[in-house]
Symmetry: C2
């Protein structure tokens, strides 16, 4: 199979067209892995990282013995072999060429190091429609949430994403209805960049109702998938795709999520990758916020209520406010004891405030400099200003 694959002239030509500067065999092998293995296949990932894609393919599909983790690789072979058809690999390359999708491989300038944090679960390839440099923008934030968003969630997602995009962050999300869509749209509306990670091929709009949104993202942002063109989005692939969203953002923020929302899966990935996790609170009477509150309780998500707090979570733009001015308790007691009408002598004020006469005199002096008290003949009263 491997020789047939690497020797197929049509496939070699397509590989050379996709990556003119690379050895076509290396390109083919990498694409082959994206077809043979489902997203996040750690055994495939380990094999590729230890042997390189070509040798990994040889081993993975041959009957040769492999010393380490023999059982895992035998199991892997049984998963991969049913898919080892040259045509499927050719279709991946041809399909991408047809829609102008760019093939990114690990190590490319546009291959974000953040993706490599996934280790053996990192994708073998990424297919990109739009501008791949968004993937390596200096500031990226993932904003995700429920498909069944409320007006509150949509508004909040749009405000956060719009503010973050306007201040230079690339907004990363999943292209779904609800929160994802609101975040993408607001980023575009703010003239910023946005990345949609899809669970199927970048040639198909899923959901179909987002065709127009995806067209706009392709023009001003990037549509990205690890799956070849033609691949259908499946439930498993949605869940796997979430790891890419979590990995690429410097922080992940969940805007609205039901108690069992898929967004909690993205949040879980962010947590296990050590990425800061934020959740937007909402009314406890709203089922659409239950998942966010759960993230705060169970996943130690930070409560975020505005874009500045998201930037703080991302580790940028931290504006430290000075410590709160705390009123001197004696001053509070003195002011409590003063009337705005009738002036009282210091001894009476001291008794009423529970302060010494000396302390009372000193405080009256300070407060009169601030214009907060005034002396009328022998007494003092509070000013009304």
């Amino acid at each position: 199979m491997i020789d047939a694959l690497l020797g197929d002239s049509g496939i070699r030509k397509a590989a050379a067209a996709a990556r003119p500067d690379d050895d076509p065999a290396a390109t083919i092998a990498q694409v082959a892995w994206s077809v043979l293995a489902e997203p996040g296949d750690g055994v495939a990932g380990a094999l590729i990282s230890q042997l390189g894609a070509i040798e990994a393919l040889r081993f993975g599909l041959s009957g040769e013995r492999f010393e380490l983790a023999e059982k895992a690789i035998q199991d892997g072979r049984r998963r991969w072999l049913p898919r080892a058809q040259p045509r499927a690999i050719g279709d991946a390359l041809h399909g991408a060429a047809e829609v102008g999708a760019q093939l990114l491989l690990p190590g490319d300038a546009e291959w974000s190091a953040a993706i490599d944090d996934l280790g053996d679960h990192a994708p073998a390839v990424l297919w990109v429609r739009g501008d791949p440099t968004h993937l390596v923008a200096s500031s990226r934030v993932s904003i995700v949430g429920a498909r069944a968003a409320t007006a509150y969630g949509d508004t909040v997602a749009a405000e956060l994403a719009g503010d973050l995009a306007a201040t230079g962050s690339i907004v990363v999300s999943g292209g779904a209805y609800g929160i994802d869509g609101s975040a993408h749209r607001a980023a575009l509306g703010a003239g910023g960049g946005t990345i949609a990670f899809l669970a199927g091929g970048v040639d198909r709009a899923y959901p179909a109702g987002h065709q127009h949104l995806f067209d706009r993202i392709r023009e001003s942002g990037a549509l990205v998938s690890e799956l070849p063109c033609g691949a259908a989005p499946t439930k498993f692939r949605f869940l796997s795709r979430n790891r890419l969203i979590a990995a690429l953002g410097a922080a992940t923020v969940v805007v609205e999520a039901g108690w069992r929302s898929g967004s909690l899966n993205t949040a879980g990935h962010a947590s296990s990758l050590g990425r800061p996790l934020g959740a937007v609170p909402g009314p406890i009477t709203s089922a659409a916020s239950a998942g966010c509150h759960r993230l705060m309780r169970e996943y130690d998500a930070q409560c975020v209520t505005n874009a500045a707090e998201v930037r703080e979570l991302m580790g940028i733009d931290v504006e430290h406010q000075g410590p709160e001015q705390r009123a001197d308790p004696d001053q509070t007691r003195l002011l409590d004891a003063l009337s705005t009408r009738t002036p009282h002598p210091p001894a009476e004020i001291a008794r009423s405030a529970g302060l010494s006469v000396e302390r009372t005199r000193a405080l009256l002096g300070t407060l009169s400099l601030e214009g907060r008290v005034e002396q009328i003949e022998t007494g003092w009263r509070r000013t009304t200003a």
Copy 2:
């Protein structure tokens, strides 16, 4: 002054009436301290705890030298002396007798040990109208929040307080408009007990609009203050009163609070006392929830969304749900690959799911036992049930 005070026959009589089993001098001295010192006066507290109330009074008001903390005590003397008038102490006792307020002293059966956690800042006395045993109920929770509550906040406060009171917790709050009032009312409505800590004397209704509510609390709960009857509530006393609310609750929950709400002061007291602190989230668009979100971000308050979570915070009634059932990813992939209409043979399903044929067969077996897949001649499909 001390001899005049302890020897005054009218005051002795009032003290004996208030505490028939105690030495009137001890009663008088303790009440004197509650009149001389403002709430939370740590110097007075330290003196009383080291010398007892009578000797503390002698030292505190005399010119005698005191070896330790000489400066603090000199400052204290200057605060206390302007108030050292026997009539004020007599008025405190007479005023209480008039409205039937009970005098509680440290060590009484109804004096909660939780109050003693305040150390030198614990009150010298507590005046109680209603049932003082509520103070030592086995389960107490403090529910506080903004006076300027929204309908959302009032509803949530009522639901939490009603549920907690119905399940046996005494609801502690501050008797104010807004959240406090909703919490007290719901506790009463649920047939439970509630305690209102007032910032002035228990003989006066503040706010006046809560006169009827206070009457009901007096009948089925308790109105409590460390300040003598006749004492006006001042800003300082409101802030000091908050430490009693924070101390008495096994946990403190803030339902709604503006960015600078006084409830944050109560929350701060709870934190410094090591009491668990909860905050109810709300819409980030609501200024009335800004303080709650701030508590989560800056005070490490736990996000609470229902009474069960409050009970968990209090350390009672912890219902551990089992770990979430996580779907086997292979099973998800297999189900993704199956049609509900057309049956497919295992080899084809394996290829589509990216699983080995062996694993596919095994999973199909398991899932058919669960009735989730069915075999039609040589193929398998998903059931629609």
